[in-house]
């Protein structure tokens, strides 16, 4: 059953609150890039991916790889809400603590339902290509989505993968760039400019769609278009706002990798009522 945009918005807000609570409790983590990715991750887990959380290793499932692994909280919250047995909702606030399944970056040893262990930037798209090749060899309809950060595409391996994805015509793979324009050290254009991003992906042979990454209707339309595109992979360049949903975190480089204080958690949760 497709979800209405209103339902997805409610889920997105709940996940934003969980992100703030988790990172606040952990006293470390990456709120900005988790919040910028919420709508896309919510659309994937609650409206798009053919998955069965009760049967996480279902061979024909779609797969999602969070290549920007530092945004783990958004993935953990989404998987917990989706009902995977190895991502308990009541343990989200153990994030980053010894013995928690909610490791600092996604770790398959602790959460077998994850599709990959990520955290070292630049690698998730290559993993997705391997999964896409495997699905094609097996004649499975399963699709693989990999979400990268905009800073992440500074890694050379991304462009090796971009060449390979187009060369092998992997139309069952979707790359998503969370283009929030901020990386750890500051604004992307001050650290290492990646623009013009959509043009780069097009030049590498990908069907490329630019959207507002917080607009559910646009996200759905882009994923539909990706699914209808044959003979080449699709890249969705999603324009987003780092820290989206919390006024003092929005577009603030400080909240790339800094946890909110207890007072800031309170303020943020008030805004996310």
């Amino acid at each position: 059953m497709p979800k209405s945009i209103e339902e997805l918005k409610i889920t997105a807000k709940r996940i934003r609150r969980e992100i703030i609570e988790m990172i606040g409790a952990a006293k470390s983590g990456h709120p900005g890039g988790s919040l910028s990715a919420v709508e896309i991750v919510v659309e994937l887990y609650f409206n798009r991916l053919r998955i069965d959380p009760k049967n996480p290793k279902w061979v024909d499932r779609d797969r999602f790889i969070l290549s920007k692994g530092h945004a783990a909280p958004v993935l953990y919250a989404a998987m917990a809400e989706a009902g995977y047995a190895d991502t308990p909702l009541d343990q989200l606030n153990t994030l980053r603590k010894l013995g928690s399944v909610y490791q600092g970056h996604p770790d398959m040893r602790f959460i077998p339902s994850l599709e990959a262990s990520t955290g070292s930037l630049g690698e998730g798209l290559s993993l997705a290509l391997g999964m896409g090749i495997a699905a094609r060899l097996d004649g499975r309809a399963s699709r693989t989505y990999a979400m990268m950060g905009d800073g992440e595409v500074q890694e050379g391996q991304i462009w090796e993968a971009a060449m390979a994805g187009a060369f092998h015509k992997l139309d069952n793979v979707v790359a998503i760039v969370d283009y929030n324009r901020i990386q750890l050290d500051g604004f992307v254009h001050d650290i290492m400019e990646v623009a013009p991003l959509a043009e780069k992906w097009r030049a590498f042979g990908w069907h490329t769609i630019e959207i507002d990454g917080h607009d559910f209707a646009a996200i759905e339309k882009a994923f539909d278009e990706a699914e209808a595109t044959k003979g080449k992979p699709t890249c969705i360049v999603a324009h987003t706002i780092k820290g989206k949903g919390v006024s003092f975190m929005e577009n603030n480089p400080k909240f790339h990798g800094t946890a909110p204080t207890a007072d800031e958690v309170k303020l943020a949760l008030q805004e996310l009522q």
Binding site: V59, R63, D107, M108, R109, E115, A116, S117, T118, G119, S120, G122, E123, S126, L127, A128, L129, G130, M131, G132, I133, A134, A135, L137, G156, Q157, E160, A161, M163, A164, F167, H168
Partner: protein, 321 residues
């Protein structure tokens, strides 16, 4: 246990050639075998697989980091991927991906490096991999194999395909002397005593196994009885065979076509130190890079022939307490 008959060099196929041939056999037996290569298939010999199974051969261009991670993705989707390049590139350019995409999540990826060591000859040091046993063995969970000849390679590549977990296999460019007859069995992690002996044990891998056997014959003529052990698996080490050699012969030489730093020798020495400490000597490349030349000239110049193994054995026997 082999009888002490004089060892003669009879060249068999190169270990990379054996790898390429057995890969085709594996491809016929198992449709989940997929091969990735980075524009070196005519040298790594994955070209045989590519010809017979073009749909299961993934050309990834000169981009080893991506290739290694694509291989990991294939494994995560239940394929048995073999990714191959020269060892120098497979290990060094893909090391980060071996660490994060294969070792850490314990992915069923098989990596085969060819053109290992200095015996590649004329191409010189940029193509000569002399660090990769140390690098591969540093990765938790990895199996690391350095086969001596054609038969060993075919059997151990098969064992690697059957093993669940990441594996690195080191193969070479030149034709390799035949060490094994057709009835030898190979098991990951189980060393093979290829010559019996009492006074010293020579532990070797790769091309140095044949050199160790030649050295043992020379030593025999001098009244030194040398045991020769093919330690084809550098990780996990056959601790029992090492401890027994240390206890019984009280002198060990480790010989390898690799840097002494981080090589098989230091790994064996750790086991000796932990079990039955005894005198040891090391034959390998010492803190340097080699150069262009013919393979035989290079092995001679850099101290990796029977003469050097025998000299190390005499030294270590002289140091026995």
């Amino acid at each position: 246990m082999a009888a002490k008959t004089k060892f003669e060099i009879k060249l068999g196929a190169a270990t990379r050639e054996a790898f390429g041939r057995v890969l085709v056999e594996l491809g016929r037996e198992n449709k989940d075998i997929v091969v990735c290569d980075a524009d070196l298939s005519k040298s790594t010999m994955t070209v045989y697989f590519a010809k017979e199974f073009p749909e299961r051969f993934v050309s990834l261009g000169i981009a080893e980091a991506n290739m290694t991670a694509v291989g990991a993705g294939l494994a995560l989707a239940d394929k048995i991927p073999f990714v191959s390049s020269f060892s120098a590139f497979a290990m060094n350019k893909g090391f980060e991906q071996l660490r994060v995409c294969a070792a850490y999540p314990f992915v069923n990826l098989k990596v085969v490096g060819t053109h290992s060591g200095i015996s590649i000859g004329e191409d010189g040091p940029s193509q000569m991999s002399i660090e990769e046993i140390g690098l591969a063995c540093s990765l938790p969970g990895f199996v690391v194999i350095s086969p001596a000849d054609e038969a060993a390679t075919k059997a151990l590549v098969r064992a690697a395909a059957a093993h669940v977990g990441p594996v690195f296999i080191r193969t070479g460019r030149p034709k390799a002397p035949t060490v094994y007859g057709g009835d030898q069995r190979f098991e990951i992690g189980k060393a093979i005593e290829v010559a019996a002996g009492r006074d010293v044990t020579i532990i070797a891998n790769g091309l140095l196994v044949a050199q160790a056997l030649l050295a043992a014959d020379v030593l025999e003529g001098e009244g030194i009885s040398a045991r020769v052990v093919d330690m084809h698996t550098a990780k996990p080490l056959d601790r029992e065979t090492i401890a027994r050699a240390a206890a019984e012969t009280r002198a060990i030489v480790v010989a390898e076509e690799h840097l002494v730093d981080g090589g098989l020798g230091v790994r064996v020495a750790q086991v000796v130190a932990e079990t039955r400490p005894c005198a040891m000597e090391f034959v390998g490349i010492r803190n340097t890079y080699a150069e262009s030349g013919q393979p035989d000239e290079l092995m001679d110049k850099y101290g990796l022939v029977a003469r050097d193994v025998a000299a190390a054995a005499r030294r270590v026997v002289g140091r026995k307490s």
